[in-house]
């Protein structure tokens, strides 16, 4: 991506007090070596997007299956918020941080 396409600031999460939004899209790779030792076959599987949001103020997100409030995630599948950390410090504003995982090909089971 050319440098003139970069953005500055938070654009993927609502709210005025968001410190950061991070996402990592990943796939796993199965490799099969050929007779000459070189990789001859590859299989891509288990695509997923993981991420985290850090901020301050009112928060409606709770751990479990739900919407992490981040734009640009794959449509469909299941998004899980496995953990939510709330923090207080003697010398700073209170804050929170949560992570999420999006499984684009999964269905939630009750």
């Amino acid at each position: 991506m050319p440098a003139n396409d970069v953005t500055f600031g938070i654009s993927r999460h609502e709210g005025a007090l968001i410190d950061s939004v991070e996402t990592t899209e990943s796939v796993q790779v199965k490799e099969l070596a050929g007779s000459d030792g070189e990789i001859a076959r590859v299989k891509i599987f288990r695509a997923m997007t993981e991420g985290s949001v850090k901020g301050h103020g009112t928060l409606s997100v709770v751990p479990g299956v739900g919407d992490p409030g981040v734009d640009g995630l794959p449509q469909g599948g299941v998004t899980v918020i496995p953990d939510l950390k709330r923090s207080e410090s003697n010398e700073d504003f209170s804050g929170w941080e949560y992570s999420f995982k999006n499984y684009p090909n999964a269905t939630a089971v009750n």
Partner: protein, 134 residues
Amino acid sequence: MIEHQFEKAFCSALQGDNEFHGLHFYTALDDDNHQLPALTIVSKSESLVGSTEFFRVAVELRIEHHAKDHTPEEHAAIVERVRVLLTAKTDVIATINAQGSVQVIGYAVMGAEQEVNDGASVTVVSIKTGCRHC
């Protein structure tokens, strides 16, 4: 400008104390007519993640006495009084907030530093605060 409003509000909150009789109170902007003994409040603000509403404010309460006019014990007594007042956090916050220019959400006293400067006894008490602009 949140620093000046904050400094003025903080000065007003401390100024009424009986033990500060004769002490001159200054903000960073009206420090030109500096007369000792003095308590000067200097602050530096930093926006909370770019917000125009919430700020972290680092504050220095600079207490100065001229050595020829006041003993180190008199200086220490004023410093101690400032410390005692600051421990009544709820009262200090309520007094500042009642002035309506800035809302202090909380603060913590970080420490103090002593020095002798041009014949003056100086103690700087450092505070970190969280504020909301009104």
